[in-house]
């Protein structure tokens, strides 16, 4: 069993190397007829590049169906990438299997969208939290119990004794999500991937859960990939944001920069849909003006946003896909011909 080696990753982080490095990542799902004839594919993730530093919180923002969850699952090695490379702590993920894959999975925590669905309904909390520990060879009931209690208390379920013996359905949605976060933290990961962790929760507990994620991220110096379709939750909780559209990342920048000076017309559209953050209608989801989300089976030619783009330049945008790294500023990358 490979145990996490904090010293190695710490030194790597000190040298400024990212925890996660993604290059040209593609995840396509084959569409088959009669079970075997391939009739096409869903290009859910279609050429994604980014890096994630230790202790950094990065948001992935995009409308429904743009491939955010597929990206998350690919990073968790739940889907095999069609192409591209993922490096975690300097080790390529391709072809990892057996104990190496298991060790990797121990170093990445996963927080899902639906907290109730994420907890096996027939296990009590104690058992649910013991599972990852057992799988990763933490022997000794007492040691496991100690770590479980610590994790429960860390996520604010105090005293732990009140929660341990309960079943998921006996907890509120917020408490369930806390258990999910506790489970993600149990193996002392280096990175957490949170896929819309609050979108199924009551508005009243969303902030609490986001604060909790932010707090544990800081305390453990975790890399956190926060996936959301709701730009309004991004401002206070992340360092950097990436905007995803049609399986690609169209813009990434530090969050203040992105919100103040959006470079991609799609980001602009998202921001204008968000409206005034202080107004009553701030949380009302308004659709990005004009048109349908792009098909991932037959994506638009050239820039995938051009059919909906107000600034589309005929003869350019529909022909050639823009490279993802026009940089108006060093840490601001935009995939749009306007910035050529």
């Amino acid at each position: 069993m490979t145990t996490p080696q904090p010293s190695a990753s710490a030194s790597r982080a000190a040298r400024g190397e990212p925890v996660l490095c993604v290059e040209g990542l593609q995840t396509h799902f084959d569409l088959r007829q009669w079970g075997f004839v391939r009739v096409g594919s869903v290009r859910a993730v279609d050429g994604v590049d980014f890096t994630l530093d230790a202790g950094e919180t990065v948001a992935v923002v995009g409308e429904s169906g743009c491939g955010k969850s597929s990206l998350a699952r690919t990073l968790l090695a739940l889907h095999r990438p069609t192409d591209g490379a993922i490096r975690f702590d300097g080790t390529p993920l391709n072809g990892l299997s057996g104990s190496a894959l298991k060790a990797y999975r121990g170093r990445v925590g996963y927080v899902q969208q639906d907290p109730y669905g994420a907890l096996p309904p027939f296990m009590d909390i104690q058992r649910i939290l013991a599972e990852p520990l057992i799988i990763h060879g933490v022997r000794g009931r007492a040691e496991r119990a100690r770590r479980i209690d610590a994790a429960l208390e860390e996520v604010g379920l105090t005293p732990a004794a009140d929660t341990r013996g309960k079943f998921p359905h006996q907890l509120s949605g917020g408490q369930q999500q806390r258990v999910v976060i506790a489970r993600a933290l149990l193996l002392r990961p280096a990175m957490i991937i949170a896929d819309e962790p609050v979108s199924m929760l009551d508005a009243s507990v969303r902030v609490e859960i986001l604060e909790l994620l932010r707090r544990v991220q800081r305390e453990h110096h975790l890399a956190l990939l926060y996936i959301t379709h709701d730009l309004s939750t991004v401002r206070h909780y992340v360092d950097r944001a990436m905007v995803m559209y049609g399986g690609r990342i169209v813009e990434q920048a530090p969050v203040a920069e992105l919100l103040a000076r959006p470079g991609h017309p799609y980001t602009e559209a998202l921001l204008s849909a968000l409206g005034d953050p202080d107004a009553d209608n701030a949380h009302r989801q308004r659709e990005v003006p004009g048109g349908e989300p792009p098909s991932l089976i037959q994506p638009p030619s050239g820039c995938r946003f051009h059919p909906r783009c107000r600034h589309a330049m005929p003869g350019k945008c529909e022909l050639e896909p823009p490279p993802p790294d026009f940089r108006p500023r060093p840490d601001h990358r935009i995939a749009c011909w306007l910035h050529e």
């Binding site: 739940l78 999975r105 996963y110 969208q113 096996p120 309904p121 599972e131």
Partner: protein, 444 residues
Amino acid sequence: MTPWLQGLARLRQYPSALAGLGIIALLVAMAVYAVTAIPYSEARELWRGGEAWQDLPTNASPVWTDRLLGGNAPRTIRVATDDVVMEQERYEGVRLQRAVLPVDFPYGGFPQEINLFVESQFDERQPFVRLTWRTPDGESIPLDARRVGESERISISQDRQLESRLGFTPQVGLFTDAEPGADDPQVRQGTYELVIEAIQFEETATLDANLVVYGQVHGLFGTDHKRRDLTVALLWGTPVALAFGLLAAVGTTLTTLIIAATGVWFGGWVDAVIQRLTEINIILPLLPILVMVGTLYSTSIWLMLGVVVVLGIFSAGIKMYRSMLLPIREAPYIEAARAYGAGNARIILRYLVPRILPVLIPTFVTLIPTYVFLEASLAVLGLGDPVLPTWGKILNDAQAQSALYHGFYYWVLAPAALLMLTGLGFAMLGFALDRIFNPRLRNV
């Protein structure tokens, strides 16, 4: 409290479930009693028949049915020389022994048979025995007079010579005062006596005699054609039936479930192979295969159990479990488990199977009697275990001896009632469990 315990606690709301549980508890108690009172090897030995049963009448019905119907059929009477005083006197170098065995006969019917079992020990010269029958009136009827060996059965009721002297078969003629050859001889109730007089030629020679006047009724459940008390088989049939039903149900349900979960989890060709095997297996008829195995190979109950389980693995249940497991396969908690490193075996056994286990409990409970019936059917077809007493074997014997034609209803009714009781108990419990664990059936 786990959902399981909660479900079980809800059983209290269903009187039928409690009744079912009561029946099952009774059967379990019978089974426990059977295995503790009569050890396995002894039960097998007893059921082989033979000397152990020589004191019992053949095909005697239960005492209580006769009494309930107002009958006064005779029970079996045993009197031994050990129970009475044996007089002795010496006479010209030999010893004369004399014992009087009283037979108290208050019944309304004639005995079935009369046997005297004689055991004697001597070095060279066999003792000489003379038997005399004395009626309550004091009338003496000389019976046999002969030398006896070390262990001998003197069948008084088979004595043809005596029969012609009495004008009736001996078991009738000895217990009536009707005229010889009368059409409808009546029993004369009272105390009869068998006088045994023996001449011993050796100083240390001994003689023990045991008179058995066989009744027409016996015990709680009667006896069969081999004089065996059906109680043994009815009692021992219980643990055998329960063990067979339980093991077969557990064996088939669990393996089927695990295989279904394996197919669902791996999908692809694994699933396809399992599906095709299931489809082939569904059209294979179980009973003829069992008959074939039984006829060609062995009818050991454990072999049958093995065949039932093996053929039950790829049963139609796989299709049902598959349809229940397919949506669970996509559950976020399974994805989460994979994300924290759970392997395939762990996901199948700890995440997929337990999820539908509660739904299977009712099916499982109702499956138990199905296998009990299957075992009984095999036994009735003559493919029962050759040595073990089971309910099915009793039915098989009854059928072979044309029990119903001869009016031995008890022979068929008792095992059939136990079989039905088993079915009823498990079915009542199973239906209630179905309502508890299968929410779609629960009435609001």
